[in-house]
Symmetry: C2
Subunit: 467 residues, 2 copies
Amino acid sequence: MNTPAPSAPGTALIAALQTSLGADQVLTASEDIIPYGFDGTATLKQRPLAVVFARNAAQVSAVLKLARLHHAPVVTRGSGTGLSGGSVPSTAAIVLCLVKMDRILELDTANLTLRAEAGAITQTIFDAASAAGLFYPPDPGSMKISTIGGNVAENSGGLRGLKYGVTRDYVMGLEVVLADGSICWLGSKCVKDVAGYNLRDLFVGSEGTLGVITQVLLKLLPQPAARQTLLAMFSRMDSAAETVSAIIAAKIIPCTLEFLDRKTIRCVEDFTHVGLPLDAEAILLIETDGHPAAATDEALKIEDLCRLHGATSVKRAASASEAALLATARRSAFSALARLRPTTILEDVTVPRSELAGMIRDVEAIALKHDLNIATFGHFGDGNLHPTILTDERNTAEMHRVELAFADIVSATLARGGTITGEHGVGLAKKPFLRRQLGDASYDLLKLVKRSLDPDNLLNPGKIFDL
Amino acid sequence: MNTPAPSAPGTALIAALQTSLGADQVLTASEDIIPYGFDGTATLKQRPLAVVFARNAAQVSAVLKLARLHHAPVVTRGSGTGLSGGSVPSTAAIVLCLVKMDRILELDTANLTLRAEAGAITQTIFDAASAAGLFYPPDPGSMKISTIGGNVAENSGGLRGLKYGVTRDYVMGLEVVLADGSICWLGSKCVKDVAGYNLRDLFVGSEGTLGVITQVLLKLLPQPAARQTLLAMFSRMDSAAETVSAIIAAKIIPCTLEFLDRKTIRCVEDFTHVGLPLDAEAILLIETDGHPAAATDEALKIEDLCRLHGATSVKRAASASEAALLATARRSAFSALARLRPTTILEDVTVPRSELAGMIRDVEAIALKHDLNIATFGHFGDGNLHPTILTDERNTAEMHRVELAFADIVSATLARGGTITGEHGVGLAKKPFLRRQLGDASYDLLKLVKRSLDPDNLLNPGKIFDL
């Protein structure tokens, strides 16, 4: 908490915000604003100048215009579940919170689209689509509380990336308020639309640094008619990796292809008692979906491939409730690990699928080298790993080793053609490594775009890169 | 042909290009450069200053640096099959032709990716994927001769948009040469990658105005195991439209859902003699694909829905060769129409699927109003219509009526929440209408991005908008 409590420099701005939005929509008292000083990322926090709630795009526009007038940075946030510090306030920032803009505005079953305000909860959107027999595939771990605007701003992933893609793949249109307060609509309900540059996709994943997303138009799919769930245990990580390669080589794209390593298996079993074998080196949770015959055929082929490549056992769920139980093992991984030590740092490196087994070995070697407890789970199908460092932020010596390990993991990822972040964003956490991944020309191009869209550098400044 | 033959102003630049690329890679003689003065768009042509061929990104970079030094515009092109004038040279431009950069560089079956130079022919890429049991879905009508770089620059569509999306959905990475000659790589082989702004998608569909695409990394899918093809005839267009709505409402997403109107049916039958009924008001060509049981089940359900909604007959192909024959009816639509009059102007408006029947009626009324021959076919599933104006560019009075009809079609499209271009791009043809579709704020944002990435306005200037 490096920022002093609100004082003279912000007084005029706060008064103007109160006049514009109503006094009750502007929080300034310490006890009110402290909860908005952090997100889901360990160790990062910063007190804002004030927290304001907008109810529509016009109010967002008013906030941006006032912030510009007073040269105050604006950090937009939804529920604050981010995992890279993207919504941690910058110094003396106005936090613009959109959770009160939470309406679903339209569900168009003829065109398979759903339009919602940015503050709508992702689970609510999923449920609204489901009620109409439709399917919104992106399922970030936080979806029960995270907002769709935050998902879009971070381009959130989830467990279904391999077959169904990520949030970006479902964004057809956006309403965005630009740094100067102008409101624009990008995209349309048309499945094909090439009228002008695709600026919609520029805002997806821009982490609040280019504009404020106030509305989203999402693409929906028909609900898959059937699903099959399998859990396969392996005594060697390489066997699990070979199995995954064999599944893809067999031209099967499962909708879920998740894995847990040995440490995670033990934690999860201790937490959930679902009956995982404590001697397994790796567990794969695999789901197929679609036409009933397709889902079943694929599940049978996958079962064969698992056994052929050395699975010590394969369970295929006989019912939806059994499937839910098997999926619990994966869904509870993070919560189970988070119980062990005071601080849980969730990594998010991603490599091409073919590099995944090697990358898991790299992480194990790095844990040994720095004497750290690192458990790994993640999305095997799309190469997205979550090495989870179990540590204690009060232990300075250990935190130093964590930083070294973190840097080593990044280096190993880049050496394997991977990315420093698959689904959590750059924010503050990955900022130091971005230039190395992108190279100078691409990195400079990011900054060029930022400077042209936000010339005063007031929209979530200091995230992704320093200007 | 408003440009004088190469003369003093370009001499120094041409000499520099010859030194840099080799004299045989620089064309300046009239008979050599005239073929590069137009693309697939009717009525548009302009002679370039010179045509140069690059063999790699370093040569592209050299060309851009020289062009900048000499303040010469650069118009990049592949095979020149564009349908919006996007690769028609601007005055005194250097045409940078990439057809000699046509290699497939890597087919990675473990990660389901293919990397190719920008000049590689799309059909060659499709065939290379097919040979490995993989599938590159985008199939623009020009794919036998168009280049992948051109497809990416225009974000080309095709017949499979409804289920499989468009070119953009398969671009994982790009090598791009920027206006200052710097070479950057955008994207990666990772299925999930949120490291920095998504600038890759900014270049997809940017029509050569932001940089020169020199390499593409494409996503591939497993080949669908089976396909079913149906041809349904309707005596009323509304019945065809209702059938399409019923198919979507039944949660079926066909891979192809094409239609022909009465005029097109007659032309196609006259051209192909495949046995289409001349009294039909509309024909739907519908294909399902995927697991054999899924493709068959869906085809049977679709057949029922067609009959239920008034199809006068439905043919389901019993073999691959019969399917190919049925598909011929749709694939030959443009060629069949192009035989009728000297000039064929292919429109490309797109509306939300639910507006399609109304839009087809609008086009019929507009044809009547302006006394023009307009046949319509297109992609019913994704709302992408190709009203085709059969005319003669030598007839000034008729061409004036064509322009009025063109403007009326655009107005009707926008009134229905559609887009002025679904898959052909803005180029020169749709430039006058873009601001109306986007609104001032979005339109100005396009220009802002252009000015920041191409400050001297030398990359395909005058396309999409005038600065």
